[in-house]
Amino acid sequence: MSHASQTEEAPRNVAATRKGETAISARGITRDFEAGQSTIRVLHGIDADIRSGELTYVVGESGSGKTTLISIMCGILWPTDGMVQVFGTDIYALSDRELVEFRLKNIGFIFQQYNLIPSIDVAANAAVPLIARGIGVSEARDRAKVLLDKLNIGDQADKLPSQLSGGQQQRVAIARALVHEPRLVVCDEPTAALDARSGRRVTDLLREVAVAEDRACIIVTHDNRIFDLADRILVLEDGRVTHDGAEMPEDH
């Protein structure tokens, strides 16, 4: 399915889901990248479902296509072919503007390098999605502070990100991903820069604050130290799903 061909209106309101119901439904996802004269197929017609109320890992070696898959699932990279429904909305049938709005309302992102804005304080960083939705800075910061308190860094709200440790910055990134109460939370290698203990603590924290009955949480990782904390694991190899289960297969 090419982006250019998507012109029809799609439903704007996402359907309510209960625990165990499908939050993301991906069908026949294929993605090609141009590399000079040749075309490289990174994803080969993947079918996958992500369910609400679960902490789902997307696992695979570097180059297996997990980041590409997750980018397509959360609406920031168009598939070459296939369809993605997020809470019942065919997101690639939306216009560019509608898709951006959809992401702003329904998806929270936690990036590997946090990507916090260095010159605004912690509360403002956490409040970015609210500010982007047009909420006043003061009100947005107040709402973000509530979440920062919940994440035990409320006392750091007025500091700049550079004054915080890596773990604390991670929490600010989590707060930013959750402050607008999205239905889907996407985390890219959240434990990659952390030691084993901190990594488990962050994952526990994500489970505590990001997993809810009507919310899906996907973690892209290759950190085998936290595999046991997943509710469900999708294993990707060479652009294909080779395992879908509650635990890692023994040969990994």
Binding site: T67, T68, I70, S71, I76, L77, R97, V100, E101, F102, R103, L104, K105, I107, F109, F111, Q112, Q113, N115, L116, I117, P118, S119, I120, A124, V128, P129, I131, A132, V137, R176, D188, V220
Partner: protein, 378 residues
Amino acid sequence: MLWIAIRMLTGDSQKFYGLLFGIAFSTLLITQQLTIFVNLIERGASGVYNAPEADIWVMDPVSRTTEVTYAMPSTALDEVRSVPGVEWAVPHLRAAASVRTASGDLEGVTIIGVDDSTLIGMPERMAVGDKSVLSRPDTVIVDDVGVLNLFEQDQDPLGQRLELNDQRAVIRGVADAIPSFTSQVTLYTKYSQALNYVPGTRNRLTFVLAGVATGTDAETIATRIEQQTGLKAETRERFSGAGVDFIIENTGIPTNFGITVVLGFVVGVAIVGLTFSLFIRDNIKQFGALKAIGVTNGKIVRMVAAQAALVGFIGYALGVVGTAAFIYGFSGNPFFKGFYIPWQIPLISLGAVIVILAITGWLALNSVLRTEPAAVFR
């Protein structure tokens, strides 16, 4: 989001001040150089401005400006006076002479001979003394360039004697005059006295200054003078314009100042473009994250526009204030006397700043808009 954009920019103080410097420097260079250029070429009309009573300047047809002249027979004065519509007409002499200063130096000067009885042809104001002193024998009034060039800093010019073309001249006043384009010393004296100072030639009447009757159009009378006398007659406005045009056409000044202004623009584009690009490059991950989170390209454009507007406004203000400070700081120097900033020049530099920011902002923005949101996962 504009609040975030401004904080992103001001939070990176090195680049923020770099951008301010680039804009301020460009504005200063463009505004200051254009100001000097305009004021300098207007000096080509200083001879006209210094004789404010004259509505019409009558001269030999080959004369072009107050500095480029060919003398007329003295009968020209009566011819002009006989033209209907001419209220009054007085002789005006301009000639070059040499002065031996007290320190033994030789200084080239311009002698201006003004009408003996009315003193028409003198600058409107005096810096020191009164115009009436010209009635005293051998008297000359010097301009403030002369005070600076002919005398020591703490020396009082009043009462000083000069050897002017081998004749005695006594300074008894200082005129508040606009310096000439070449900033040459000017000595004012009575027309009859000036004839004594200027080496004898058959024709020595340089100009006839004429006033027109109230309610009469100067252009019409000038045309009438030309038709009736065969001389060249220019209104005050046209003759001052001719002086300016002469400078533009016969000197390399427009080219030189033009090059400097263009350099100011290019330097602005280079500094601002480089700094803005670095700023955007340093924040490309943040912009990518914002795009992924759900900030539209439209909002990103407005964010970068707000950043450009902020540095543009502050940098431009600094540049214009810097130019004003320069003009004010040098206002006591006779060479910069009367310099002002024409209102068009800040508008021109504002236009240049807008173009600089539009070019550099667009270049910087382009990389942000081309960044895929998915890039933040790589």
